[in-house]
Symmetry: C2
Subunit: 298 residues, 2 copies
Amino acid sequence: MHLKEIGEFGLIRRFQKQIKTDVSVLRGSGDDCAVLHLNKSMYQLFTCDMIIEGVDFKKADNLEAVGRKALAISISDIAACGGLPRHAVVSLGLPKNMQVNQADFLAKGIFGLARKYKINIVGGDISASSKLIIDVSMLGEVEKHKLCLRRGAKTGDIIMVTGSFGGSIKGKHLEFTPRLKEARFLVDNFKINSMIDVSDGLIQDLGHILEQSSAGAVLFESLIPLSKEAGGVDEALCSGEEFELLFTASRDQASKIIRCSKYGFRLIGEIMPVSFGLRSINHKNKYSRLKLKGFKHF
Amino acid sequence: MHLKEIGEFGLIRRFQKQIKTDVSVLRGSGDDCAVLHLNKSMYQLFTCDMIIEGVDFKKADNLEAVGRKALAISISDIAACGGLPRHAVVSLGLPKNMQVNQADFLAKGIFGLARKYKINIVGGDISASSKLIIDVSMLGEVEKHKLCLRRGAKTGDIIMVTGSFGGSIKGKHLEFTPRLKEARFLVDNFKINSMIDVSDGLIQDLGHILEQSSAGAVLFESLIPLSKEAGGVDEALCSGEEFELLFTASRDQASKIIRCSKYGFRLIGEIMPVSFGLRSINHKNKYSRLKLKGFKHF
């Protein structure tokens, strides 16, 4: 049986069944970050993301942007948990025929973004590789009462997002700004019940929230903010690597959040009982069931 | 200019120059682990190691052993700093045509060793890749007074090792036992001035200690413990991925350490002033200067 037959998420579940963690781990595999006990008031966040030439970026892509992306993905994960990034280690697989100035561009992207977000690059590993590989592991911190996980969405919660969706592949996937300011603004000022960053696609990542919250949802298609590059609402709902925040809060909190003009948070749906499943309403007020489609590696 | 021209260590130095870290980092890039402030009595250790098919293991190798190796390398790094491993995240690049039972073998190696060493696997990332890639990032903890770094070797220190050296490529590199028990025994009972695990080769890794301690050394060739697989002392001095501990302590401490029959620690040399450089003495009592040769990716 090939990996394709059980799929990326089937494989992850197969691995997760074998994992046992001790009491120092509040949340292990299955969220944007692992959550570890740090001290009385703080949790430590721990995440890793690997990007590979030919899969997550093209050989011809600007290497400064590629280095930036490698770090930005992990920052986005820390943000989605409501935390602040602190330290990172970087493993590089570099082709033997790489030019030193290409490696310099890559480093410029990584170190430049690290400086901007005050992240300490504290170590790494360099290996020869036929294709360029960058794997970043990042540590962050979050005040205990500000932690956001995928689970926690409640029936009646309003579903909101940052930014706009669709056509990320045309450039945004390499040049996005991780929504750290927005996430911190949210957790500093409101009670957020669940949050995730959109890496696999809006529907699929909403699916992660619903699965872990044992909930259903309805999405209002006409309210999905479309980017200029979007190829329509269907594409926007499945577009991976948008790296926007998708989050839920009570109706009361949501009405206050939507009124904050500063960051342009947008309402796109509502959490429903699990029996409702996941449906969308189009501009003709017609319901349809949504399939959990989006990016999968296998 | 190609990477080969500046070499792996040239590239690392080039990157390190661009790094600035804040006061929460006691030791960043350049040791077996990064060392972060954790609380009053403990430091946190953070390390990453990537292994790639065709570079660090062969396509035909037993995948359970490969998974084991991926985790064991990082355990060895934590041990070399005197600490205990606690948590790890694992990034996997998996070929699309991989069989599910092959992925199961890989997982068995990773999760089995994690259970043995009581390490929590708290997250990961899975990506499609043409070659199998495993990158492990690990967190550990060490009591502040037990921390061992590469720097700290002093003139007159005795240089010691665990185990035996040479021919690791014939099997040990896949099946080694990380020297965690030995390292903890050392830091629990003695004052260790410097320590490293031998991944690049005995001479080259001793070179790292000497460089960071501003010291020289003499090695007694006839005292180097050779493994059955060793192709002579010259090979043993350069053989990478031996994953034995190389450490130094004062003469007084060393005499007590050598007398511990439990772990078979062996004396192989002495730390000298930096002006002495790095030399060996062969069985005819003849000195010769040693070049820092060992495994380099570029």
